[in-house]
């Protein structure tokens, strides 16, 4: 078994730490005097500094030290938390990312600028003291808080197993204890295993400390503030008159509890949380998903063989394997799922920065953050969502004075929400801004030749023009949006994920963009159908119902291509004609009604074969642009079936309906 590269592990954990710090800072902007959040940010900065130094990221450690010092001063009440300070540390935190990614880069000039901003923020713009002065001021504060009178403490502690690997230096903690007063420290090695059983990155040592100090208990607890949650800590005050506990003779001996009855013993012991999570590289999950896919295909073949054989034993085994592979597939899917919270969290920072840049007051509301999506979807959706949120803020939301004049709250709202319906996740970006100016969209589209002047367009068609390449209605180009690149890329990205994008907008009330994305990109439940001689898969999540198309109905519908379904007309497409199979229609054709949201369309097929676990394979480069199909799959007999692109087919059906209606 190979151990992971410690530097690589540190980078990953530091990136997570930076996210936590950012989240804490953004929370702080809402309540600047929130003590818990101030402590959390301070702890994060301290851990980052310590672990950075331990793993040789000296520039990162040195830079982070200044931010930590600033927050230490806030924590101790020397300076107030202000929006300026939070913004300065947020900017500094971006720089920390750069120092993490390119530790040997030339960062000196940027470091100096950011530190100057930081010191101005700490000192209320009254000039920047030297960092050493700030640090000294931070350290001097607690001395004044001594409770008075010499007391004796017994402190026993052990650290979480991964403390050293996470950057905590136990020697630093012991040094801090010594700073509190006269100290006797005895290491306890009883729990250190033999070398063959030792994970050397874990810490198994414990300590027994006798401390004589005038400092209060809170100062002792402060030593452990960064590891308090996961460690075992027992602090016992011993009466001054009492003799110090007997020295620990041997490392193996567990300190006795005999002096406890005379003491005011308050235990702060916290059970170490067991390691419940395992970090697995994403590519291993992808590899495993591929294997599961191959298994599903092999199982499909076995099912087919068993179906044609008279062997009951073989059928029984085949059914068992089908059940097991289905469960394995479901388990594998769950492993790849991540809550969209990880996607949404980054927008808090974006909105914070854009609010400052544009001078607009913005409230970001996130909903449905626990909704889970395939990891690949989350990775690929990040950039499109950034663009959509930027657009909402830049084009949609008005300035405060404009909003007040329109009878709105001065603070604009952007709602980012996610929810699951069937096999899809709907992610919505909604704002309460001015809405899309249709006249401007039309004028721009006409000017750039996207539509003919005066062309009749349905509202949805007009709005969809903003997703055309090179389209932008921004009157001035800003660094937020309005360069005419982006919205077409957003649409392409969403469609590459087999998703669709809808937009609605009401003048004066705001706009809403909805992304409909399949839950997974790897294996889906499909409905296997035959058209002519070929087999095709329709994603089962899109199927509403199946009907028989009698010969009479077929003949009657010629030229109209509509069926009446519970008093509503549903357009349908004859796949045999669409795919030009050149075969005669089956006498008992079927209509599979599919839908995307509110839109429905029927697909006429020759035969419905049944449900099919569909392992999605990408189309070859040659067929990549064929819009009717979103992929292919391998059937049990080794033949290939194409997977229908539901969104495209529904759009084609709706277009056909619109044409027929226009023709009267």
């Amino acid at each position: 078994m190979s151990n992971p590269d410690p530097i690589s592990v540190f980078r990953t954990e530091a990136a997570e730490l930076l996210e936590q710090i950012e989240s804490g800072l953004l929370d702080l902007t809402r309540s600047l005097d929130d003590r818990d959040r101030i402590d959390a940010v301070f702890r994060g900065l301290h851990t980052l500094k310590g672990s950075g130094a331990m793993f040789g990221f000296d520039a990162l450690a040195a830079f982070t030290h200044h931010c930590e010092t600033a927050f230490d001063r806030v924590r101790k009440g020397d300076v107030p938390a202000t929006h300026e300070l939070v913004s300065a540390v947020l900017s500094a935190q971006d720089h920390m990312r750069a120092l993490l990614e390119t530790p040997n880069g030339d960062h000196d000039a940027m470091s100096a600028t950011l530190l100057d901003n930081l010191h101005r923020a700490v000192n209320g713009g009254a000039g920047a003291p030297a960092p050493a002065v700030a640090a000294a001021a931070a350290v001097s504060a607690p001395a004044a808080q001594a409770a008075g009178g010499m007391r004796e403490w017994r402190i026993r502690f052990s650290l979480p197993a991964n403390a050293m690997a996470n950057g905590t230096n136990p020697l630093g903690l012991l040094d801090e204890m010594r700073d509190l007063g006269e100290c006797r420290i005895v290491a306890d090695a009883a729990k250190v295993p033999v070398l063959a059983a030792l994970d050397p990155r874990d810490i198994h040592l414990a300590w027994d400390v006798t401390l004589r100090s005038e400092k209060p208990r809170s100062d002792i607890e402060d030593v452990f503030i960064f590891v308090m949650d996961d460690m075992e800590l027992e602090i016992t005050e011993i009466a001054v008159e009492q003799p110090a506990p007997a020295p620990v003779e041997a490392p193996a001996a567990k300190p006795a509890e005999r002096e406890a009855p005379a003491a005011q013993a308050v235990s702060d012991s916290k059970q170490a949380k067991s390691a419940e999570n395992v970090r697995v590289p994403a590519e291993r999950l992808d590899e495993m998903m591929d294997r599961v896919g191959e298994l599903v295909i092999a199982q499909s073949r076995l099912t087919q063989l068993a179906g044609t054989a008279a062997d009951l034993g073989l059928r029984s085994v085949s059914e068992e394997i089908e059940r097991l592979s289905g469960e394995l597939r479901d388990t594998m899917m769950v492993l790849r799922m991540m809550p969209v919270a990880s996607l949404f969290s980054r927008f808090r920072r974006l909105v914070h920065d854009l609010s400052r840049e544009t001078g607009k007051e913005i409230e970001l509301v996130t909903e449905g953050e626990s909704t889970e999506v395939d990891k690949t979807v989350i990775d690929r959706l990040a950039d499109p969502l950034v663009h959509l949120v930027r657009n909402s803020i830049d084009h949609g939301l008005e300035k405060p004075e404009e909003r007040i004049a329109a009878g709105k709250e001065p603070k604009g709202k952007v709602i980012l929400s996610a929810h699951q319906t069937g096999g899809e996740v709907i992610i919505t970006i909604k704002d309460d801004g001015r809405g899309i100016n249709r006249e401007r969209v039309r004028a721009k589209a006409e000017a750039s030749g996207l539509i003919q002047p005066g062309a009749m367009l349905m509202d949805q068609e007009l709005l969809q023009l903003i997703f055309q390449p090179g389209f932008s209605t921004a009157q001035t180009v800003t660094n937020l949006s309005g360069r005419g690149v982006g919205m077409d890329v957003v649409k392409k990205t969403v469609e590459a994920l087999r998703g669709a994008i809808d937009i609605t907008s009401k003048p004066g009330d705001g706009s809403e963009v909805s992304l409909r994305i399949p839950l997974t990109l790897a294996i889906i439940d499909g409905l296997l159908v035959r058209v002519g001689q070929g087999c095709y898969v329709i994603p089962l999540s899109a199927v509403e119902e199946c009907l028989e198309l009698s010969l009479e109905d077929d003949l009657r519908s010629r030229g109209r291509s509509f069926i009446s379904l519970r008093d509503s007309l549903v357009p349908f497409l004859r796949l045999r004609e669409l795919f030009r199979t050149g075969t005669e229609p089956d006498p008992h054709q079927k209509v599979v009604v599919i839908s995307t949201g509110a839109e429905r369309v029927g697909l006429v097929v020759d035969q419905i074969i049944g449900d099919h676990q569909t392992v999605i394979k990408s189309m070859s480069k040659l067929h990549h642009d064929v819009a009717t199909f979103s992929g292919a799959t391998i059937l049990g007999d080794g033949s290939v079936a194409l997977i229908l692109d539901v969104t495209h087919l529904v759009a084609a059906g709706q277009h056909q309906e619109a044409q027929l209606r226009a023709a009267g």
Binding site: M54, M164, L174, V186, V192, L195, P200, R201, I203, E249
Partner: protein, 108 residues
């Protein structure tokens, strides 16, 4: 002060003995102990040491004792190693055996 070493050559440890490479150091010592009933560790006075290494040596001592082998230091702890022992609370209340092992002090 130095001790009389057995015939076999000591294991010369690298200059960095910290958590960054502690897994590799463990493999090195474990391998050496498996091939030598008396294992002598040569730690340079200038070596960079942290607590993970001291814990590793404590663990190796336990393994040697459990397997009736011997683990020795080629020279008394000095430099970083001594500093870590002191700061880590290994010198207060040190047993005679530990003092002999780490500091080469004679057992009374």
């Amino acid at each position: 002060m130095s001790i009389t070493l057995p015939g076999d050559a000591p294991l010369t440890l690298p200059a960095s003995l910290t958590i960054k490479n502690i897994s590799a150091v463990r493999e090195m010592i474990l391998d050496f102990m498996n091939n030598n009933s008396t294992a002598v560790l040569d730690i340079d006075e200038e070596a960079q040491v942290d607590l993970s290494f001291v814990q590793l040596v404590v663990s190796a001592r336990k393994q040697a004792e459990a397997g009736e082998g011997r683990l020795l230091l080629a020279r008394p702890a000095a430099g970083d190693l001594y500093d870590v022992l002191k700061r880590g609370g290994f010198l207060d209340a040190m047993t005679p055996e530990a003092a002999h092992f780490w500091l080469h002090q004679e057992k009374n």
